[in-house]
């Protein structure tokens, strides 16, 4: 409890509540051309009335407003986010600087290719680096986020299977999978069949062998899985699938455990996505932007989204003549600004640095496991990699659940870990420190978790009604869902 103390926190109203007619925060230059009457130019019926309710505040009020709001947020810049499978590592400021390089930040996607060679080189460089890291043959940078990449990957599989004569009907998804996996399969037009995990939480290859038939298009797997455990039978699983003409998709959310150590392309994966906003340090920004590049084996390359980067001599160009392509998944070329940040990260670390980061990430997670296994139930025994999953089994007997423990952790100055996921663990506590955290920070985290475990035995109510130290106490999510109020309205 030593790092948390009360401090001054403003009671800031909404913009609309402090708006005052005539206040302004902008100043446009004088027009160097004649003004035009809107009604004349557009037709009176096309001209809008004023934007009712839109704020009018001064520049200093605007800046103070958002700054005060920012003081109500927790961020990586404050401390650790032990969120499992989110890989909340440090967001290097060098990324922010280079992303704002003028000629890159202001590049218009339709400007002549001759004026875009720098941007295209950045993309080509990133594609090559990601191909090397994943052990795959080709990469597309077009998807805007992980889920978008998943959709792209499944559509690639569909296109390939269609070419083989039968797109097939279903996708196998482990019950430990992230929710985006089945949602993606459904959007791609496939039925979802759940494949239960084995008793030890890993892929049940025996069950897989039974289930894979001519109707199965692919298995979507996360490796390491959502327990943080490496799927040791992954090559076997790939072989089973390939024998029946199905493919192996890998959700790359947990790549922070593998970079430089093992490559999905080497253990049988046909197609996978990466999360640049996880493994590659681009900032989460409160919920995005992300980027979800997709890496594929050669056999899927012809189907990649259009356009593809191609090189003729010393010039880069976009190739739109891709007859087998699945089409576009997004306008333009992808989240270029995010690509710049990810490339900066890769350049900074280099090959050896990336590998070191992976090793530190795993070390930190194993260290946490050792530090907490006497206090929280471990639902499995295998070695964990970059994340560790506990269960609230022990604490639940005293009426305290993982969600409560998470809220009490806030009072110790930490953001909660991932609560209640994966669903195969009863009351999961999913913890991923990343390589960013020092031993000191992690020791404090472990101390906090142990302290809470002890509090549960002596004063469970304290934990159940947490957090106590925050400006905002536990929010009534039930009321928010029963009577949704999704916008401000004037009284």
């Amino acid at each position: 409890m030593n790092r948390v103390r009360q401090h001054l926190s403003q009671n800031e109203r909404l913009l609309f509540e402090q708006s005052s007619p005539g206040k302004r925060a902008y100043q446009l230059p004088e027009l160097d051309v004649p003004a035009v009457d809107a009604a004349e130019a557009l037709g009176a019926a096309n001209v809008r009335a004023e934007i009712e309710g839109f704020p009018e505040v001064s520049e200093v009020e605007a800046l103070r407003h958002f700054t005060r709001l920012s003081t109500w947020n927790y961020a990586i810049d404050h401390g650790m986010y032990p969120l499992g499978s989110c890989t909340m590592k440090y967001n290097p400021r060098i990324n922010e600087l280079v992303a704002r390089t003028e000629a890159l930040a202001w590049a218009h996607p339709y400007q002549p290719e001759a004026l875009s060679q720098g941007a295209m080189k950045v993309m080509a460089h990133l594609e090559a680096a990601l191909a090397e890291i994943t052990g795959m043959d080709a990469v597309t940078l077009q998807p805007a986020a992980g889920a978008h990449g998943e959709l792209t990957g499944i559509l690639l599989i569909r296109a390939f299977l269609e070419k083989c004569g039968n797109p097939r009907k279903k996708i196998l998804i482990p019950d430990s999978a992230h929710g985006t996996n089945p949602a993606t399969a459904a959007i791609a037009g496939y039925a979802v069949e759940n494949i239960p995990s084995s008793a030890t939480g890993v892929l049940d290859v025996g069950a897989l062998e039974q289930i894979v038939d001519q109707d199965v298009a692919a298995l979507m797997v996360t490796n390491p899985n959502t327990l943080g455990v490496f799927e040791e039978n992954i090559t076997q699983a790939a072989a089973i699938l390939h024998k029946k003409g199905a493919m192996l998709y890998m959700d790359g959310a947990n790549m922070n455990a593998l970079v430089g150590i093992a490559r999905p392309g080497d253990f049988g994966v046909d197609v996978m996505h990466l999360n640049l906003h996880k493994t590659f340090s681009t900032p989460h920004g409160g919920g995005g932007p992300g980027a979800g590049p997709v890496a594929v084996k050669k056999v899927l390359e012809p189907f990649l989204p259009v356009p593809r980067l191609k090189r003729t001599g010393r010039k880069w160009a976009f190739d739109y003549n891709r007859k087998r392509s699945i089409g576009r998944v997004k306008a333009y070329y992808g989240n270029f600004g995010v690509m710049v940040r990810a490339l900066a990260y890769i350049l900074a670390h280099g090959g050896p640095g990336l590998r070191n980061a992976t090793m530190d990430a795993v070390l930190n997670a194993v260290y946490i496991r050792k530090g907490l296994e006497a206090y929280y139930d471990l639902p499995y025994t295998q070695p964990n990699m970059h994340e560790v999953v506990f269960s609230d089994e022990r604490q639940a007997k005293l009426g305290v659940r993982t969600g409560d423990i998470a809220k009490r952790l806030i009072d110790y100055g930490f953001h909660p870990y991932t609560v209640s996921f994966p669903m195969i663990v009863h009351g999961a506590l999913m913890i991923e420190p990343t390589e960013t955290e020092s031993k000191d920070e992690i020791d404090q985290f472990i101390e906090a978790m142990i302290s809470i475990a002890k509090e549960i035995e002596t004063d469970p109510q304290l934990v159940k009604t947490a957090p106590h130290a925050t400006r905002t106490s536990r929010v009534d999510e039930v009321a928010a869902a029963r009577k949704p109020v999704l916008r401000w309205k004037a009284a």
Binding site: P55, H78, L115
Partner: protein, 434 residues
């Protein structure tokens, strides 16, 4: 730490991995470089990119001035490096600003409810089509050819696997606006959505009300999109639409060679449970203070899984925050003034040329230059450090020889004069040689 983990080396932590899967060599990547060298790397790339050109390109991505407050706000580590606001007590900053964003989008578009953002306008349109299919129980989609061509491509990619037939309807060759007869004829009772853009790809304010009438007449929903958000400072919003699925790049989002941008989906109250993406709602905390939280999450993938309204998880929160700051800086009056300046600039340029279509336009319009002349023209302009308009033949074969020109508040009169001269003299030269 190694001791505590019961190992004597970092390598041992990976010993449990099967030998066969381990990469037995270093990654074939250059060693890490210093901060300065990284800056230099991107400076070199920037030098290989054009810079300092006057730009007459719009076509879905617009050069607008980014108020300095935008970066000042989003550079706060508390916004930049924060996570998705699942833990409401620690994320009131993000949640409050999203609530304000949702509100302003409703005020701007005339819709009842807006979500926290989609990836961009193109995917927002695709998701809106799927949303309309869910809401109506139908599957067919009619989309105007005057909707951004790449948006239509994305729509097709999504629709193909949903058993969702997509058909296009055309535009009037004189006005550049929707061919309503064409729409009327193609309309049927199987259509879930009619999708139109305004201002359309040609920059023209289009007949959304009439399209809505036709759509509603057969029980379909009207989806309205836009790529130039600044237009809403002056143009009547598509309040007759059932869903607005659009792009906010114009609101202080750097063109950044195509992304990241921020899409929005806004709709009527009755469709709220069919919406994809995150929603922030107002509530109270246990002390009775107003507080915000993510809500109606049962629509989303982490709960509904394969029955979710979408697979979207990470969206564009920080980009949406840029737009929120932009809307705050300009405010009620400023957005109108800004739109007015855009209107003035584009109409000044158009006044020196002959727009091909008669429809009213905002800050973009089409000019006929003639087939080979477009490329020649743009090449000669480049020599004057001017990037000319989009050659429409790229997307509309019937419009080969026309360019789409855009002028914003950042376009200078001198450059417009230069561009107009170049076009006029090229035409004159052609006449001489004809």
């Amino acid at each position: 730490m190694l001791n505590a983990c019961g190992v004597s080396s970092l390598e041992e932590l990976f010993a449990h991995l099967p030998e066969a899967v381990r990469l037995g060599r270093p990654l074939d990547l250059e060693p890490g470089i210093s901060e300065y060298e990284i800056v230099q790397y991107f400076r070199d790339r920037a030098a290989e990119n054009g810079n300092g050109y006057a730009l007459f390109l719009g076509a879905g991505v617009y050069n607008h001035y980014r108020p300095v407050l935008v970066d000042a706000v989003v550079s706060h580590g508390e916004f930049l490096t924060s996570y998705t606001p699942y833990q409401a007590e620690l994320s009131q900053g993000t949640l409050t600003s999203i609530f304000e964003f949702q509100t302003m989008i409703c005020q701007l578009t005339g819709m009842d409810v807006a979500n926290a953002s989609m990836y961009d306008g193109s995917t927002a349109v695709a998701e809106a089509a799927m949303m309309a299919a869910r809401a109506t129980g139908r599957s067919r989609v009619l989309v105007a050819r005057t909707v951004h061509p790449e948006y239509r491509e994305v729509l097709r990619t999504y629709a193909r696997n949903q058993g969702m037939p997509v058909e296009e309807f055309g535009y009037d060759a004189k006005t550049g606006m929707l061919d309503l007869d064409n729409l009327e004829r193609k309309m049927d009772d199987l259509t879930a959505a009619v999708i139109v853009q305004t201002p359309n790809f040609f920059g023209i304010a289009d007949q959304v009300k009439e399209a809505a009438r036709i759509a509603h007449g057969r029980g379909a929903l009207l989806v309205a999109t836009f790529t130039e958000a600044v237009s809403l400072g002056i143009l009547e919003p598509p309040a007759c639409a059932d869903i607005v699925a659009a792009e906010l790049q114009s609101f202080a989002i750097s063109p950044s060679y195509g992304g990241p941008y921020a899409g929005i989906i806004a709709t009527r109250e009755k469709y709220v449970r069919q919406m994809p993406g995150r929603l922030v709602g107002q509530s109270v905390d246990s002390r009775g203070n107003r507080a915000f939280c993510l809500t109606l999450a049962t629509r989303e993938q982490h709960i509904r899984r394969e029955k979710a309204t979408s697979n979207i998880c990470t969206n564009e929160a920080l980009i949406a925050l840029m737009a929120t700051v932009f809307m705050t800086v300009y405010g009620k009056q400023g957005l109108r003034e800004l739109a007015g300046q855009n209107l003035a600039k584009a109409h000044y340029l158009a006044g020196k040329l002959t727009p091909r279509f008669s429809g009213s336009f905002f800050n973009e319009f089409v000019v006929n230059v003639e087939s080979q002349a477009v490329d020649e023209l743009n090449r000669s302009l480049l020599k004057k450090k001017i990037v000319g308009g989009l050659s429409l033949g790229r997307f509309y074969p019937e419009l080969a020889g026309s360019v789409l020109l855009c002028a914003t508040e950042m376009t200078r009169r001198a450059d417009m004069d230069e561009l107009a001269n170049a076009i006029v003299s090229a035409a004159a030269a052609k006449e001489v040689t004809a």
